[in-house]
Subunit: 241 residues, 2 copies
Protein backbone atom coordinates (compact mmCIF):
# COMPACT_ATOMS: atom_id res chain seq x y z
CA UNK A 1 0.00 0.00 0.00
CA UNK A 2 2.97 2.34 -0.26
CA UNK A 3 2.67 3.47 -3.89
CA UNK A 4 -0.91 3.64 -5.03
CA UNK A 5 -1.30 3.84 -8.79
CA UNK A 6 -4.26 5.85 -9.98
CA UNK A 7 -4.57 7.96 -6.87
CA UNK A 8 -3.03 11.35 -7.43
CA UNK A 9 -2.58 13.65 -4.47
CA UNK A 10 -5.13 16.25 -3.56
CA UNK A 11 -3.75 19.13 -5.55
CA UNK A 12 -3.16 17.15 -8.71
CA UNK A 13 -6.63 15.82 -8.97
CA UNK A 14 -8.85 18.88 -8.92
CA UNK A 15 -11.40 18.58 -11.72
CA UNK A 16 -10.57 14.94 -12.23
CA UNK A 17 -13.10 12.13 -11.84
CA UNK A 18 -13.51 10.72 -8.31
CA UNK A 19 -10.94 8.21 -7.10
CA UNK A 20 -12.29 4.68 -7.30
CA UNK A 21 -11.58 2.06 -4.66
CA UNK A 22 -12.86 -1.29 -3.48
CA UNK A 23 -13.26 -2.40 0.15
CA UNK A 24 -14.32 -5.80 1.37
CA UNK A 25 -16.21 -6.96 4.42
CA UNK A 26 -14.90 -10.49 4.99
CA UNK A 27 -16.95 -12.49 7.43
CA UNK A 28 -15.90 -15.72 9.04
CA UNK A 29 -17.25 -17.88 11.83
CA UNK A 30 -15.49 -18.54 15.11
CA UNK A 31 -16.52 -21.21 17.59
CA UNK A 32 -17.88 -19.82 20.81
CA UNK A 33 -15.88 -20.69 23.92
CA UNK A 34 -17.44 -22.41 26.96
CA UNK A 35 -20.23 -23.78 24.83
CA UNK A 36 -21.43 -20.31 24.00
CA UNK A 37 -22.84 -19.50 20.60
CA UNK A 38 -20.60 -19.17 17.53
CA UNK A 39 -19.59 -15.65 16.56
CA UNK A 40 -19.16 -13.79 13.32
CA UNK A 41 -15.81 -12.08 12.96
CA UNK A 42 -13.90 -10.15 10.32
CA UNK A 43 -10.33 -9.07 9.55
CA UNK A 44 -9.31 -5.42 9.54
CA UNK A 45 -6.10 -3.72 8.47
CA UNK A 46 -4.49 -0.77 10.20
CA UNK A 47 -4.13 2.28 8.01
CA UNK A 48 -0.54 3.43 7.63
CA UNK A 49 -1.22 6.52 5.50
CA UNK A 50 -3.34 9.60 5.85
CA UNK A 51 -6.20 10.12 6.12
CA UNK A 52 -7.12 8.21 9.27
CA UNK A 53 -3.61 6.79 9.74
CA UNK A 54 -3.55 4.37 12.67
CA UNK A 55 -7.26 3.53 12.55
CA UNK A 56 -8.55 0.10 11.63
CA UNK A 57 -10.14 -0.13 8.20
CA UNK A 58 -11.60 -2.65 5.78
CA UNK A 59 -9.03 -4.22 3.47
CA UNK A 60 -9.12 -2.86 -0.05
CA UNK A 61 -7.42 -0.51 -2.45
CA UNK A 62 -7.77 1.35 -5.72
CA UNK A 63 -9.24 -0.20 -8.86
CA UNK A 64 -6.59 -0.91 -11.45
CA UNK A 65 -7.28 -0.01 -15.08
CA UNK A 66 -6.68 -3.60 -16.20
CA UNK A 67 -9.05 -5.39 -13.83
CA UNK A 68 -12.78 -5.66 -13.31
CA UNK A 69 -14.30 -4.54 -10.03
CA UNK A 70 -14.63 -8.06 -8.68
CA UNK A 71 -11.06 -8.81 -9.64
CA UNK A 72 -9.92 -5.63 -7.91
CA UNK A 73 -11.68 -6.74 -4.74
CA UNK A 74 -10.12 -10.20 -4.84
CA UNK A 75 -6.64 -8.93 -5.64
CA UNK A 76 -6.57 -6.12 -3.07
CA UNK A 77 -7.79 -8.60 -0.49
CA UNK A 78 -4.95 -10.99 -1.25
CA UNK A 79 -2.46 -8.12 -1.25
CA UNK A 80 -3.42 -6.69 2.13
CA UNK A 81 -4.42 -9.81 4.07
CA UNK A 82 -3.33 -12.85 2.06
CA UNK A 83 -6.91 -14.13 2.12
CA UNK A 84 -8.64 -15.73 -0.87
CA UNK A 85 -12.28 -16.12 0.10
CA UNK A 86 -14.54 -18.74 -1.41
CA UNK A 87 -17.41 -16.32 -1.88
CA UNK A 88 -17.44 -12.73 -3.11
CA UNK A 89 -20.49 -10.61 -3.75
CA UNK A 90 -20.88 -6.93 -4.52
CA UNK A 91 -22.53 -5.10 -1.67
CA UNK A 92 -23.05 -1.41 -2.33
CA UNK A 93 -21.22 1.61 -3.69
CA UNK A 94 -20.56 4.48 -1.31
CA UNK A 95 -19.98 7.89 -2.85
CA UNK A 96 -21.00 10.69 -0.54
CA UNK A 97 -19.00 13.85 -1.14
CA UNK A 98 -17.50 14.15 2.31
CA UNK A 99 -16.72 10.54 3.13
CA UNK A 100 -12.99 11.19 2.88
CA UNK A 101 -11.52 14.38 4.33
CA UNK A 102 -8.86 14.74 1.66
CA UNK A 103 -10.39 13.83 -1.68
CA UNK A 104 -13.49 12.67 -3.46
CA UNK A 105 -13.57 8.92 -2.99
CA UNK A 106 -16.06 6.43 -4.40
CA UNK A 107 -15.81 2.98 -2.84
CA UNK A 108 -17.40 -0.17 -4.18
CA UNK A 109 -17.91 -2.39 -1.16
CA UNK A 110 -17.74 -6.16 -1.48
CA UNK A 111 -18.88 -8.86 0.82
CA UNK A 112 -16.86 -12.06 1.25
CA UNK A 113 -17.17 -15.23 3.28
CA UNK A 114 -14.40 -17.44 4.61
CA UNK A 115 -14.76 -20.96 5.88
CA UNK A 116 -13.47 -22.01 9.25
CA UNK A 117 -10.25 -23.52 7.89
CA UNK A 118 -9.31 -20.28 6.18
CA UNK A 119 -10.04 -18.26 9.31
CA UNK A 120 -7.72 -20.46 11.33
CA UNK A 121 -4.90 -20.27 8.78
CA UNK A 122 -4.83 -16.47 8.73
CA UNK A 123 -1.60 -14.79 9.78
CA UNK A 124 -2.13 -11.89 12.13
CA UNK A 125 0.40 -9.16 12.81
CA UNK A 126 0.20 -5.70 14.28
CA UNK A 127 -1.41 -4.37 11.10
CA UNK A 128 -3.85 -7.19 10.36
CA UNK A 129 -6.20 -8.62 12.99
CA UNK A 130 -9.53 -10.35 13.42
CA UNK A 131 -12.34 -8.81 15.47
CA UNK A 132 -15.65 -10.21 16.64
CA UNK A 133 -18.46 -8.14 15.23
CA UNK A 134 -19.45 -7.06 18.73
CA UNK A 135 -15.87 -6.15 19.71
CA UNK A 136 -15.68 -2.63 21.21
CA UNK A 137 -12.73 -1.86 18.92
CA UNK A 138 -15.17 -2.04 16.01
CA UNK A 139 -16.82 1.18 17.17
CA UNK A 140 -14.45 3.52 15.41
CA UNK A 141 -13.20 2.55 11.99
CA UNK A 142 -11.65 4.70 9.27
CA UNK A 143 -13.89 6.59 6.83
CA UNK A 144 -17.49 5.32 6.87
CA UNK A 145 -16.35 1.72 7.18
CA UNK A 146 -18.43 1.09 10.26
CA UNK A 147 -21.51 1.92 8.18
CA UNK A 148 -20.35 -0.50 5.51
CA UNK A 149 -19.93 -3.30 8.05
CA UNK A 150 -23.40 -2.64 9.45
CA UNK A 151 -24.88 -2.79 5.99
CA UNK A 152 -23.09 -6.08 5.27
CA UNK A 153 -24.57 -7.59 8.43
CA UNK A 154 -28.01 -6.30 7.55
CA UNK A 155 -27.78 -7.87 4.10
CA UNK A 156 -26.55 -11.15 5.53
CA UNK A 157 -29.43 -11.34 7.98
CA UNK A 158 -31.97 -10.54 5.30
CA UNK A 159 -30.75 -13.07 2.78
CA UNK A 160 -33.60 -15.20 1.59
CA UNK A 161 -31.36 -18.14 0.87
CA UNK A 162 -29.02 -18.95 3.70
CA UNK A 163 -28.03 -22.28 2.22
CA UNK A 164 -25.25 -20.97 0.03
CA UNK A 165 -24.01 -18.49 2.59
CA UNK A 166 -23.94 -20.89 5.47
CA UNK A 167 -22.11 -23.64 3.63
CA UNK A 168 -19.42 -21.21 2.49
CA UNK A 169 -18.66 -20.34 6.10
CA UNK A 170 -17.98 -24.02 6.72
CA UNK A 171 -15.85 -26.53 4.87
CA UNK A 172 -16.90 -28.91 2.12
CA UNK A 173 -18.50 -31.29 4.60
CA UNK A 174 -20.13 -30.28 7.83
CA UNK A 175 -22.43 -31.52 10.57
CA UNK A 176 -25.94 -30.19 10.98
CA UNK A 177 -24.95 -28.87 14.39
CA UNK A 178 -22.17 -26.78 12.82
CA UNK A 179 -24.57 -25.48 10.20
CA UNK A 180 -27.07 -24.62 12.88
CA UNK A 181 -24.32 -22.74 14.71
CA UNK A 182 -23.80 -20.61 11.63
CA UNK A 183 -27.48 -19.83 11.35
CA UNK A 184 -27.63 -18.95 15.02
CA UNK A 185 -24.63 -16.64 14.73
CA UNK A 186 -26.19 -14.86 11.78
CA UNK A 187 -29.68 -14.59 13.21
CA UNK A 188 -28.51 -13.93 16.76
CA UNK A 189 -30.86 -16.44 18.38
CA UNK A 190 -31.04 -20.12 19.25
CA UNK A 191 -32.83 -22.56 16.97
CA UNK A 192 -34.54 -25.81 17.83
CA UNK A 193 -32.22 -28.64 16.65
CA UNK A 194 -35.06 -30.96 15.65
CA UNK A 195 -36.98 -28.38 13.67
CA UNK A 196 -33.80 -27.13 12.05
CA UNK A 197 -33.04 -30.63 10.85
CA UNK A 198 -36.51 -31.11 9.46
CA UNK A 199 -36.49 -27.79 7.63
CA UNK A 200 -33.15 -28.45 5.97
CA UNK A 201 -34.24 -31.89 4.81
CA UNK A 202 -37.04 -30.24 2.88
CA UNK A 203 -34.86 -27.68 1.10
CA UNK A 204 -33.00 -30.32 -0.93
CA UNK A 205 -29.86 -28.19 -1.14
CA UNK A 206 -28.22 -30.24 1.60
CA UNK A 207 -27.31 -33.86 0.99
CA UNK A 208 -26.33 -36.52 3.52
CA UNK A 209 -23.03 -38.30 2.98
CA UNK A 210 -22.13 -41.73 4.33
CA UNK A 211 -19.40 -40.28 6.52
CA UNK A 212 -19.51 -39.49 10.20
CA UNK A 213 -17.42 -37.14 12.27
CA UNK A 214 -15.32 -39.23 14.63
CA UNK A 215 -13.36 -38.17 17.68
CA UNK A 216 -16.11 -36.31 19.48
CA UNK A 217 -17.30 -36.89 23.01
CA UNK A 218 -20.66 -38.33 22.10
CA UNK A 219 -22.59 -39.99 19.34
CA UNK A 220 -20.80 -39.19 16.09
CA UNK A 221 -22.85 -36.95 13.80
CA UNK A 222 -23.34 -37.56 10.11
CA UNK A 223 -21.58 -35.27 7.66
CA UNK A 224 -23.56 -33.38 5.06
CA UNK A 225 -22.68 -31.69 1.80
CA UNK A 226 -24.09 -28.67 0.01
CA UNK A 227 -25.50 -29.37 -3.44
CA UNK A 228 -27.06 -25.98 -4.23
CA UNK A 229 -27.94 -24.78 -7.65
CA UNK A 230 -26.42 -21.96 -9.69
CA UNK A 231 -25.37 -18.59 -8.37
CA UNK A 232 -27.23 -15.30 -8.42
CA UNK A 233 -27.23 -13.53 -11.78
CA UNK A 234 -24.43 -11.16 -10.84
CA UNK A 235 -22.47 -13.16 -8.34
CA UNK A 236 -18.72 -12.78 -8.59
CA UNK A 237 -16.52 -15.75 -9.30
CA UNK A 238 -13.56 -15.13 -6.99
CA UNK A 239 -11.42 -17.66 -8.86
CA UNK A 240 -11.21 -15.08 -11.65
CA UNK A 241 -9.74 -12.54 -9.27
Amino acid sequence: MSSVPGWANVNERRNLPPALAVSTVILGIREGHDGGPDKLCLPLVRRIRQPHAGLWALPGGPVDASESLGQAAGRSLADTTGLRPSYLEQLYTFGDIDRSPTHRLVTIAYFALLNADQVGATVQDENVAWFDIDDPNMAQLAFDHRKIVDYALWRLRNKTEYGQIAHRLLGERFTLAALRGVYEAILGRRLDPANFRRTLKNTATIEATEEYLAGGQHRPPRLYRYVGHGPDPLEVDPSQG
Copy 2:
Protein backbone atom coordinates in the same frame (compact mmCIF):
# COMPACT_ATOMS: atom_id res chain seq x y z
CA MET B 1 -25.97 15.56 -23.32
CA SER B 2 -23.89 17.54 -25.80
CA SER B 3 -21.01 18.61 -23.58
CA VAL B 4 -20.21 16.08 -20.91
CA PRO B 5 -18.08 17.42 -18.08
CA GLY B 6 -15.73 14.94 -16.49
CA TRP B 7 -15.46 12.67 -19.50
CA ALA B 8 -12.28 13.31 -21.41
CA ASN B 9 -11.86 11.73 -24.80
CA VAL B 10 -10.06 8.44 -25.27
CA ASN B 11 -6.59 9.79 -25.91
CA GLU B 12 -6.65 12.22 -23.04
CA ARG B 13 -7.57 9.73 -20.43
CA ARG B 14 -4.95 7.03 -20.73
CA ASN B 15 -3.68 6.22 -17.21
CA LEU B 16 -6.51 8.14 -15.64
CA PRO B 17 -9.04 6.57 -13.27
CA PRO B 18 -12.11 5.00 -14.92
CA ALA B 19 -14.90 7.32 -16.01
CA LEU B 20 -17.78 7.21 -13.53
CA ALA B 21 -21.39 7.35 -14.64
CA VAL B 22 -24.87 6.63 -13.29
CA SER B 23 -27.70 4.95 -15.21
CA THR B 24 -31.24 4.43 -13.99
CA VAL B 25 -33.81 1.76 -14.69
CA ILE B 26 -37.13 3.56 -14.20
CA LEU B 27 -40.09 1.25 -13.98
CA GLY B 28 -43.70 2.28 -14.25
CA ILE B 29 -46.99 0.43 -14.57
CA ARG B 30 -49.29 0.61 -17.58
CA GLU B 31 -52.85 -0.71 -17.62
CA GLY B 32 -53.33 -3.68 -19.86
CA HIS B 33 -55.73 -3.14 -22.75
CA ASP B 34 -58.74 -5.42 -23.37
CA GLY B 35 -58.75 -6.47 -19.75
CA GLY B 36 -55.32 -8.03 -20.11
CA PRO B 37 -52.84 -7.89 -17.26
CA ASP B 38 -51.00 -4.69 -16.36
CA LYS B 39 -47.53 -4.30 -17.78
CA LEU B 40 -44.25 -2.97 -16.49
CA CYS B 41 -42.65 -0.40 -18.76
CA LEU B 42 -39.63 1.89 -18.72
CA PRO B 43 -38.35 4.98 -20.53
CA LEU B 44 -35.24 4.88 -22.70
CA VAL B 45 -33.25 7.63 -24.39
CA ARG B 46 -31.68 7.41 -27.81
CA ARG B 47 -27.92 7.89 -27.81
CA ILE B 48 -26.77 10.77 -29.98
CA ARG B 49 -23.03 10.32 -29.47
CA GLN B 50 -20.57 7.52 -29.97
CA PRO B 51 -20.24 4.83 -28.89
CA HIS B 52 -23.52 3.16 -29.79
CA ALA B 53 -25.00 6.32 -31.35
CA GLY B 54 -28.60 5.69 -32.39
CA LEU B 55 -29.23 2.83 -29.99
CA TRP B 56 -31.65 3.09 -27.09
CA ALA B 57 -30.04 3.35 -23.67
CA LEU B 58 -30.89 3.88 -20.02
CA PRO B 59 -31.05 7.53 -18.99
CA GLY B 60 -28.02 8.70 -17.05
CA GLY B 61 -24.78 10.57 -17.28
CA PRO B 62 -21.46 11.26 -15.56
CA VAL B 63 -21.12 11.83 -11.84
CA ASP B 64 -20.38 15.43 -11.03
CA ALA B 65 -17.70 16.24 -8.45
CA SER B 66 -20.15 18.25 -6.36
CA GLU B 67 -22.92 15.67 -6.00
CA SER B 68 -23.40 12.32 -4.30
CA LEU B 69 -24.16 9.25 -6.36
CA GLY B 70 -27.86 9.31 -5.59
CA GLN B 71 -28.03 12.99 -6.43
CA ALA B 72 -26.25 12.32 -9.71
CA ALA B 73 -28.85 9.68 -10.56
CA GLY B 74 -31.75 11.99 -9.76
CA ARG B 75 -30.28 14.97 -11.58
CA SER B 76 -29.24 13.12 -14.73
CA LEU B 77 -32.69 11.57 -14.83
CA ALA B 78 -34.35 14.97 -14.72
CA ASP B 79 -31.92 16.31 -17.32
CA THR B 80 -32.48 13.58 -19.88
CA THR B 81 -36.15 12.70 -19.36
CA GLY B 82 -37.69 15.35 -17.10
CA LEU B 83 -38.79 12.63 -14.70
CA ARG B 84 -38.56 12.96 -10.92
CA PRO B 85 -39.39 9.53 -9.52
CA SER B 86 -40.81 9.00 -6.05
CA TYR B 87 -38.47 6.12 -5.31
CA LEU B 88 -34.79 5.68 -6.01
CA GLU B 89 -32.60 2.82 -4.90
CA GLN B 90 -29.06 1.83 -5.78
CA LEU B 91 -28.97 -1.36 -7.79
CA TYR B 92 -25.47 -2.50 -8.71
CA THR B 93 -22.20 -1.16 -10.05
CA PHE B 94 -21.03 -2.46 -13.39
CA GLY B 95 -17.32 -2.19 -14.14
CA ASP B 96 -16.16 -4.88 -16.53
CA ILE B 97 -13.16 -3.76 -18.56
CA ASP B 98 -14.74 -4.13 -21.98
CA ARG B 99 -18.25 -2.85 -21.35
CA SER B 100 -17.60 0.25 -23.43
CA PRO B 101 -15.66 -0.05 -26.70
CA THR B 102 -13.96 3.33 -26.35
CA HIS B 103 -12.96 3.80 -22.73
CA ARG B 104 -13.00 2.28 -19.27
CA LEU B 105 -16.44 3.02 -17.88
CA VAL B 106 -17.79 2.23 -14.43
CA THR B 107 -21.54 2.68 -14.13
CA ILE B 108 -23.49 2.79 -10.90
CA ALA B 109 -26.97 1.59 -11.82
CA TYR B 110 -30.01 2.92 -9.97
CA PHE B 111 -33.52 1.63 -9.82
CA ALA B 112 -36.49 4.01 -9.76
CA LEU B 113 -40.26 3.69 -9.63
CA LEU B 114 -42.88 6.01 -11.05
CA ASN B 115 -46.55 6.03 -10.20
CA ALA B 116 -49.22 5.87 -12.85
CA ASP B 117 -49.85 9.64 -12.92
CA GLN B 118 -46.20 10.36 -13.61
CA VAL B 119 -46.07 7.80 -16.40
CA GLY B 120 -49.04 9.41 -18.10
CA ALA B 121 -47.57 12.93 -17.83
CA THR B 122 -44.30 12.02 -19.53
CA VAL B 123 -43.44 13.84 -22.74
CA GLN B 124 -42.20 11.54 -25.46
CA ASP B 125 -40.25 12.63 -28.50
CA GLU B 126 -38.06 10.88 -31.01
CA ASN B 127 -35.24 10.59 -28.47
CA VAL B 128 -37.23 9.61 -25.37
CA ALA B 129 -39.80 6.83 -25.39
CA TRP B 130 -41.48 4.25 -23.15
CA PHE B 131 -41.22 0.53 -23.85
CA ASP B 132 -42.98 -2.44 -22.35
CA ILE B 133 -40.46 -4.74 -20.77
CA ASP B 134 -41.37 -7.46 -23.26
CA ASP B 135 -41.13 -5.11 -26.25
CA PRO B 136 -38.92 -6.58 -29.01
CA ASN B 137 -37.09 -3.25 -29.26
CA MET B 138 -35.71 -3.96 -25.81
CA ALA B 139 -33.56 -6.75 -27.20
CA GLN B 140 -30.67 -4.57 -28.25
CA LEU B 141 -29.70 -1.69 -26.00
CA ALA B 142 -26.46 0.28 -25.82
CA PHE B 143 -23.56 -1.05 -23.73
CA ASP B 144 -24.63 -3.77 -21.29
CA HIS B 145 -27.86 -1.96 -20.49
CA ARG B 146 -30.00 -4.97 -21.32
CA LYS B 147 -28.18 -6.86 -18.58
CA ILE B 148 -28.83 -3.98 -16.19
CA VAL B 149 -32.55 -4.05 -16.97
CA ASP B 150 -32.70 -7.79 -16.45
CA TYR B 151 -30.98 -7.45 -13.12
CA ALA B 152 -33.43 -4.71 -12.06
CA LEU B 153 -36.35 -7.00 -12.89
CA TRP B 154 -34.76 -9.86 -11.00
CA ARG B 155 -34.29 -7.68 -7.95
CA LEU B 156 -37.84 -6.41 -8.16
CA ARG B 157 -39.25 -9.93 -8.32
CA ASN B 158 -37.15 -11.07 -5.40
CA LYS B 159 -37.98 -8.20 -3.10
CA THR B 160 -39.16 -9.54 0.19
CA GLU B 161 -41.27 -6.52 0.88
CA TYR B 162 -43.48 -5.61 -2.02
CA GLY B 163 -45.55 -3.21 0.03
CA GLN B 164 -43.37 -0.18 -0.48
CA ILE B 165 -42.60 -0.97 -4.08
CA ALA B 166 -46.15 -1.61 -5.11
CA HIS B 167 -47.58 1.51 -3.53
CA ARG B 168 -44.96 3.70 -5.22
CA LEU B 169 -46.11 2.47 -8.59
CA LEU B 170 -49.61 3.70 -7.73
CA GLY B 171 -50.87 6.99 -6.35
CA GLU B 172 -51.46 7.94 -2.74
CA ARG B 173 -54.74 6.02 -2.60
CA PHE B 174 -55.52 2.90 -4.55
CA THR B 175 -57.91 0.00 -4.76
CA LEU B 176 -56.92 -3.51 -3.84
CA ALA B 177 -57.57 -4.56 -7.43
CA ALA B 178 -55.05 -1.99 -8.68
CA LEU B 179 -52.51 -3.16 -6.13
CA ARG B 180 -53.11 -6.73 -7.17
CA GLY B 181 -52.52 -5.69 -10.77
CA VAL B 182 -49.10 -4.36 -9.78
CA TYR B 183 -48.19 -7.58 -8.03
CA GLU B 184 -49.35 -9.61 -11.01
CA ALA B 185 -47.29 -7.48 -13.40
CA ILE B 186 -44.20 -7.93 -11.25
CA LEU B 187 -44.64 -11.63 -10.64
CA GLY B 188 -45.93 -12.38 -14.12
CA ARG B 189 -48.86 -14.50 -12.95
CA ARG B 190 -52.44 -14.12 -11.80
CA LEU B 191 -53.26 -14.03 -8.10
CA ASP B 192 -56.44 -15.07 -6.35
CA PRO B 193 -58.28 -11.87 -5.37
CA ALA B 194 -59.66 -13.29 -2.15
CA ASN B 195 -56.36 -14.67 -0.91
CA PHE B 196 -54.55 -11.51 -1.95
CA ARG B 197 -56.94 -9.46 0.14
CA ARG B 198 -56.52 -11.69 3.14
CA THR B 199 -52.73 -11.65 2.94
CA LEU B 200 -52.55 -7.88 2.73
CA LYS B 201 -54.86 -7.44 5.71
CA ASN B 202 -52.36 -9.37 7.78
CA THR B 203 -49.34 -7.31 6.76
CA ALA B 204 -50.62 -4.14 8.46
CA THR B 205 -48.78 -1.86 6.04
CA ILE B 206 -52.01 -1.19 4.14
CA GLU B 207 -54.79 0.77 5.76
CA ALA B 208 -58.41 1.10 4.64
CA THR B 209 -59.78 4.60 4.14
CA GLU B 210 -63.44 5.61 4.25
CA GLU B 211 -63.41 6.57 0.58
CA TYR B 212 -64.65 4.59 -2.38
CA LEU B 213 -63.77 4.86 -6.03
CA ALA B 214 -66.88 6.06 -7.87
CA GLY B 215 -67.58 6.07 -11.58
CA GLY B 216 -66.87 2.44 -12.29
CA GLN B 217 -69.19 -0.02 -13.96
CA HIS B 218 -69.79 -2.14 -10.91
CA ARG B 219 -69.69 -2.13 -7.14
CA PRO B 220 -67.40 0.72 -6.09
CA PRO B 221 -64.23 -0.53 -4.41
CA ARG B 222 -62.84 0.88 -1.20
CA LEU B 223 -59.66 2.96 -1.38
CA TYR B 224 -56.63 2.00 0.66
CA ARG B 225 -53.52 3.82 1.78
CA TYR B 226 -49.96 2.70 2.44
CA VAL B 227 -48.75 3.24 5.99
CA GLY B 228 -45.40 1.45 5.82
CA HIS B 229 -42.57 1.96 8.18
CA GLY B 230 -39.14 3.46 7.60
CA PRO B 231 -36.95 2.88 4.57
CA ASP B 232 -34.10 0.45 4.11
CA PRO B 233 -30.83 1.49 5.77
CA LEU B 234 -29.31 2.80 2.57
CA GLU B 235 -32.35 3.87 0.62
CA VAL B 236 -31.90 7.07 -1.37
CA ASP B 237 -34.09 10.07 -0.72
CA PRO B 238 -34.78 11.38 -4.21
CA SER B 239 -35.96 14.72 -2.88
CA GLN B 240 -32.33 15.49 -2.15
CA GLY B 241 -31.41 14.97 -5.77
